[in-house]
Structure formats: structure tokens, C-alpha cells
């Protein structure tokens, strides 16, 4: 299998889905001639023409709303946020109009809102956000957060084919740094199923997106330095959450660390902790603990950003503590 980068995987998914289904089209700022701020849509305009690769005004509510309308009419829009930090500008129409369309009115709204999220890139408070938690709370939306090129491709294809709206958080740190094999052919990864990224017996790390890589690094160090066998569960989608996979890993290791890059309070880890309490409390030998960013807007200077964000070292330290509990 040839190795490709994460951003190439995104592009491949878009190209293949647009080839497969003429209803699929892309909208966003500077996605046409420019190919997108991170070149995820590079070459799409030349290939599919301006009717299927549409440069929009700087209007996130405008084109996300337009995507909903087009979706009602049978198209399958894929919206790019130039940075996921700007999805906040479409927050109301996504949570109120799009998320409720099927429930309140039987309106189909198959669409994807995708774009780069995440930090570790010195982007400052408005080009580094992880806004997934703000949407976790909205029935009607789905949320995907791939960690690998293979999942970026496979989940994006599933998202485009899904009958409902999927928010698709790509991690910009991984765009060019994550490189890996992607199964050939029509590689689709179903939404709602976690991936066991590493098997272990002593402790589980439940995480997603960039957290997966730090968890794997930490697991390796913990094995080497402490002889600990650490399992890493990559959630892949947050809505729906794969409860079964979470419960299974808890039952196996009885100790769980939930890791995410987003801030602690109100982050996704809270929900995961609650589910573990509800579904697997008796299997816990220790409290579920979180390793997350500190509760601050993400600062820009390297020293500050590195301090605010969770690091591999933090996971190692937390895991040792939890293993010794």
C-alpha cells in the first residue's frame, strides 16, 4: 500500500466521492483556484469545474446555510472552513437549522462541514481551536475526528455518504506530518466505530485526533521504561460515540486515562467519563482521569502554547500515576 499524507487522504476522499456521485460538490473560501489554505482541495477546480468547486464570500453562515438548502434539493455539499475556528460563525445555523431539520420537518440535510482544527502549530487563539465539544451537545449532528491518513480518507467518504450533517475535524498538525498506508479501492470507514490503536493490559488511553499519536508515543515509553502494557483507543467519531469499544477497553484494563487536546472544563472527556461511570463503573480500579489542555485560550508563543497544551510527557506521568493507583 502506498503511503500518503493526511491532507492527501482528505483530497483523495473528495476526488473519489466527487467522481462517484455527481451530487457531491464543494464550497468554501479560497478552495478553487487557490486550492484551500492547506491545499486540501488543490486541483479540484481544474478537475470538476466551477459548478462543483465554489469559492464563497467570507460568510460561514451564508454558505453553511446554502449547503443545507442545496442538500434539501438532493445535492451533497461539502463545506470547508478555512480554519475550524470559524465554524463558530455558523454555530447558530448548524445547531438550530441543520441539526433539527430531519426531526422537526423531515428535511434531509446530508452535508459535511470540514476543515483544519487543532494546535501545536503556533497559530494563536484563533487558528488552533478544537471546537468539537461545542457541538457534542447538539442531537442531529455527527462529529468525526480522524487521527490517521487511512481514517481521514475512510471517514470522510462515510461522512459524505451519510444522510445527516457531519462535522469533520481534520488536524492541521497532522496534515503533512502524518503519513501512512491507505487501503486501496473504495476505502470507507463507518462512523461510530472506534479503533484499537494499540493493545494493552494495564491501562487504557481513550483519545482521538492528535491525542492518538501522543498516546502511542507515551505507551511506547511506558512499555520501555516501566514495563507497562498500555492500550490506546482511538475514538475516531465522537457523535455517535462507540460505547461498546469504550466499555470493552475498561473491562480489559480497569484503568482509564481520557486524553484530548481541547481544554478540560466542558470538553469531550467529561462525557466519556460519565459514560464509563454509567456503563462500566464496576470494572474501574481507579478513577477515570483526564489529560487535556489547561483552561485558557490557546496562546501563541511556543513556550506558552507548549505549556497550555497536553504533551506526551504529561500522558506518561499521568499514566504512571494511574497505574500505581
Amino acid at each position: 500500500m502506498p503511503e500518503i499524507t493526511y491532507v492527501e487522504a482528505v483530497r483523495e476522499a473528495l476526488v473519489e466521492e466527487m467522481e462517484r456521485d455527481p451530487a457531491v460538490f464543494c464550497m468554501g473560501e479560497d478552495i478553487g483556484a487557490y486550492g484551500g489554505a492547506f491545499k486540501a482541495t488543490d486541483g479540484l477546480l481544474a478537475r470538476f469545474g466551477p459548478g462543483r468547486v465554489i469559492d464563497t464570500p467570507v460568510s460561514e453562515t451564508g454558505f453553511v446555510g446554502a449547503a443545507a438548502g442545496a442538500a434539501h434539493m438532493g445535492l451533497r455539499p461539502v463545506c470547508e472552513m478555512q480554519f475550524m475556528d470559524f465554524v463558530s460563525c455558523a454555530y447558530s445555523i448548524l445547531t438550530n437549522y441543520v441539526a433539527t431539520a430531519r426531526y422537526r420537518a423531515g428535511l434531509a440535510c446530508p452535508m459535511v462541514v470540514r476543515g483544519p482544527a487543532g494546535g501545536y502549530v503556533r497559530g494563536g487563539p484563533f487558528h488552533s481551536q478544537n471546537p468539537e465539544a461545542a457541538f457534542l451537545h447538539t442531537p442531529g449532528l455527527k462529529i468525526a475526528c480522524p487521527a490517521t491518513p487511512s481514517d481521514a480518507k475512510g471517514l470522510l467518504k462515510a461522512a459524505i455518504r451519510d444522510e445527516d450533517c457531519v462535522l469533520f475535524f481534520e488536524h492541521k498538525y497532522l496534515y503533512r506530518r502524518a503519513r501512512g498506508a491507505v487501503p486501496p479501492g473504495d476505502h470507507v470507514v463507518p462512523l461510530g466505530r472506534a479503533r484499537l490503536a494499540r493493545e494493552g493490559r494495564d491501562l487504557s488511553i481513550v483519545t482521538y485526533a492528535a491525542g492518538v499519536w501522543m498516546a502511542l508515543d507515551a505507551a511506547e515509553r511506558l512499555e520501555r521504561e516501566n514495563g507497562l502494557s498500555v492500550e490506546v483507543l482511538d475514538l475516531r467519531t465522537l457523535l455517535p460515540l462507540d460505547d461498546a469499544a469504550v466499555v470493552e477497553t475498561v473491562r480489559r484494563t480497569n484503568r482509564v486515562l481520557v486524553v484530548h487536546e481541547d481544554t478540560a472544563t466542558g470538553g469531550v472527556a467529561g462525557e466519556i467519563t460519565a459514560r464509563i461511570n454509567e456503563l462500566a463503573f464496576e470494572w474501574l480500579d481507579a478513577p477515570v482521569r483526564r489529560v487535556t489542555a489547561h483552561d485558557v485560550p490557546l496562546p501563541y508563543a511556543p513556550a506558552l502554547e507548549d505549556f497550555a497544551l497536553p504533551q506526551t510527557d504529561d500522558i506518561v506521568r499521568a499514566a504512571r500515576w494511574l497505574a500505581a493507583y
Partner: protein, 366 residues
């Protein structure tokens, strides 16, 4: 604020309207008003669940503009546009069931009043409360028409108040720059809830917003159903011919308050009465029909009677409709899974339904 000049010369009959269509316009305006009057009765009997929103005095805006659409064109009504939905084929029974939160209402009790639609067959779309959002949505509906080269048009209403929303701005700008076949009708009824239009926007005319988006903009007398029809048809056919989006400001007046509970104490004395007595759209149209168009009064009386019978039946049917099935609350959030999980504490119950008096009852004894 004074009423605009009252009677339009009926000489300006749009070409292509048949005698039957003239009567139909009358029918839809009358039906709108009569249906709302029935709803007022039901509201007073506490049979309406929630608020009641009327379009009293604005019926010509909704009916005249929607009448300019073809069957395949898509309409996005707001709360004052009951008439437009009736034109598009919504039935009084559906409206009554909605207002009464019945289980067989178009939204199966999920949504209230006229928040419902039918994009599959009748081509109107269910609104949400958040003002402005329907504009970008309709930009997308009509973008789909343009991309697929379908000769279809979309029409979306906004109030004077809703023009202040960012969603309106982003939506109409998107439609303009993408040359979507969309007609944006700004229904200027002089108030947004209690706020008069001059405290909403400092523009001389809301139609002046059009230039900022590079689309044609006109202001018309929204209490003249034929003028409303004429200007809308012009915009609709321009859109259909590939001429892109446009904006129409319809001047009218909201006579019945924001909703039935609204006492309208903020309205200057005499204003309501003046509009009612000198500028009622149905009175004006009736005068034109029986005057210049020579329609005999009994013809109109027969229409009124037909409406009465129709509404008697609809009200009876709606009252007989069943309430919603509680468990249906969980269905249809997603295509897949088709039903949201029943939460554990409810699953503990013998029967799924809660007891008789729900809500935080004890609050009264704080």
C-alpha cells in the same frame, strides 16, 4: 406613522390573470383571514398550544407574492406568511393541527404554528424561529436549481426586523454573487415585535439595501394584492430567465400585534384604526373586484360561504385529531440510528410515560 395612500387604480391589472385567478386571489386572502379568526377562537378556548401569530392586514403580501410562483418553485414562508402557504397547497386542517399540537399534524407535534413544510410535493419549506436563517437556506435551494439548470425559482420572506440579522446579509449576498434565482421579499409591516422600523434601520427605504448587494430592488404597496403580484412576478421571471436574485420591499402594516398576547400599548393612538379603516388589503381588493373588474358581489359571497364550510369541517377534524404519541419524541433525529436511546431512568419505569403533572411543580412554593 401614517397609512400609505389607500386605493390603487385597478387599471394596473397584470396581464395574464384570468377571471378565475382574480377570484382565487380573493379566496386565499379571505381564507387566510378566516382561518386566523378561527384560530383566535380556539386560542381563547385554550385549544391552541403556545402563541398565535396573525397576519391581519398583511394578507395581500403573502398571497400576492406566492401567487407569482409556479408549482415547482420553492417558497420559504415566515410567521406572517400563512397566506403564501395556502397558495402553495397547505391546508387549513394542517394549520389547525399544528397549532393544536396534534399527533397527525405535519410535524407530528414537533414544531408549532405554521413551522412546517413540504419540499417533496408542494414545494414550501418549514421555517425555524431564528430570524434570517431561511435566506441562506434558500440561497442554497436556488443554487441547486442554477447548478442543475432547472428553470425553478425560490422566494423567501423576511420581516423588517429580520433584515438586521447577519444571516439575512450573508444569505442575500451569497445569492447575489452566485446569481441564484432567488426573490427576497422584505415585508415591512412597520414593527418587529414592539420595535418600529426606524429603530431597526436608518435607511430611507429597506429596498435601498439592494444596491449594496448588486441586485434590483423595488418598493411596492404590499396592501395591493395585484401590485404585489406584478412586482413579484417580474422578479420571479427575471430570476427564472437567469437574471439572478432581487429584493422587493412590500409596505404593509401589522394590525394584530406580535402575537395574540401582545397588547400593542406601544402603538401610537389611532394608527391601528387608521390602517384598518383606510387600508385593509381585502377591503381594497373587494372594492377593485366589484368595481373596476365588475365581479358581482354574490360571487364573492359564495366564496366566503365556501370558506366557512371548509373551515367548519377543518376545525371539527382538527379537534378530533389524536394527540402525539409520547414515544415518537425519540424518532427521527438521524436517518441512522432511527430512534434516540430511551434513557436508563425511563427504562426503569413500568410504563414509559411520566406521571400526570410534569415539570418542576413545587417551584410555586419556593
Amino acid at each position: 406613522m401614517a397609512a400609505t395612500s389607500a386605493v390603487t387604480s385597478p387599471a394596473a391589472v397584470p396581464p395574464g390573470l384570468t377571471h378565475d385567478q382574480l377570484i382565487e386571489l380573493y379566496y386565499f386572502m379571505r381564507l387566510t383571514r378566516a382561518l386566523e379568526e378561527r384560530l383566535v377562537n380556539l386560542y381563547r378556548q385554550s385549544k391552541v398550544v403556545g402563541g398565535l401569530y396573525r397576519s391581519l392586514g398583511q394578507e395581500a403580501c403573502a398571497v400576492g407574492s406566492a401567487f407569482a410562483l409556479r408549482r415547482e418553485d420553492v417558497l420559504a414562508p415566515l410567521i406572517r406568511n400563512l397566506g403564501s402557504m395556502l397558495v402553495k397547497g397547505a391546508t387549513p386542517l394542517e394549520v389547525l393541527r399544528q397549532y393544536m399540537a396534534k399527533g397527525d399534524s405535519p410535524t407530528r407535534g414537533r414544531e408549532l404554528n405554521i413551522h412546517f413544510g413540504d419540499v417533496e410535493r408542494r414545494n414550501f419549506i418549514g421555517q425555524i424561529s431564528h430570524l434570517g436563517d431561511m435566506v441562506p437556506v434558500m440561497a442554497g435551494v436556488t443554487l441547486a436549481f442554477r447548478l442543475r439548470r432547472e428553470p425553478r425559482v425560490g422566494l423567501v420572506y423576511v420581516g423588517d426586523g429580520a433584515t438586521s440579522t447577519g444571516a439575512f446579509h450573508e444569505g442575500i449576498n451569497f445569492a447575489a454573487v452566485q446569481r441564484c434565482p432567488l426573490v427576497v421579499v422584505v415585508e415591512n409591516n412597520r414593527y418587529a415585535y414592539s420595535t418600529p422600523t426606524e429603530r431597526q434601520c436608518a435607511a430611507r427605504r429597506l429596498a435601498d439595501k439592494a444596491a449594496g448587494y448588486g441586485v434590483p430592488g423595488v418598493r411596492a404597496d404590499g396592501n395591493d394584492v395585484l401590485e404585489t403580484f406584478r412586482v413579484t412576478r417580474e422578479a420571479v421571471e427575471r430570476a427564472r430567465a437567469g437574471g439572478g436574485a432581487s429584493l422587493i420591499e412590500l409596505m404593509t402594516y401589522r394590525r394584530a400585534g406580535h402575537a395574540e398576547h401582545d397588547g400593542q400599548s406601544y402603538v401610537p393612538p389611532g394608527e391601528l384604526e387608521q390602517w384598518a379603516s383606510t387600508n385593509d388589503p381585502i377591503d381594497r381588493y373587494t372594492a377593485a373586484l366589484t368595481g373596476a373588474f365588475g365581479i358581482p358581489a354574490p360571487t364573492l359571497a359564495a366564496v366566503d360561504e365556501r370558506i366557512r364550510v371548509e373551515l367548519d369541517r377543518a376545525v371539527a377534524d382538527a379537534e378530533a385529531s389524536p394527540p402525539a404519541d409520547p414515544r415518537d419524541a425519540l424518532r427521527g433525529v438521524y436517518a441512522e440510528p432511527a430512534e434516540a436511546p430511551l434513557l436508563w431512568f425511563r427504562a426503569l419505569a413500568e410504563a414509559g410515560a411520566p406521571r400526570a403533572s410534569p415539570g418542576p411543580r413545587s417551584a410555586a412554593h419556593a
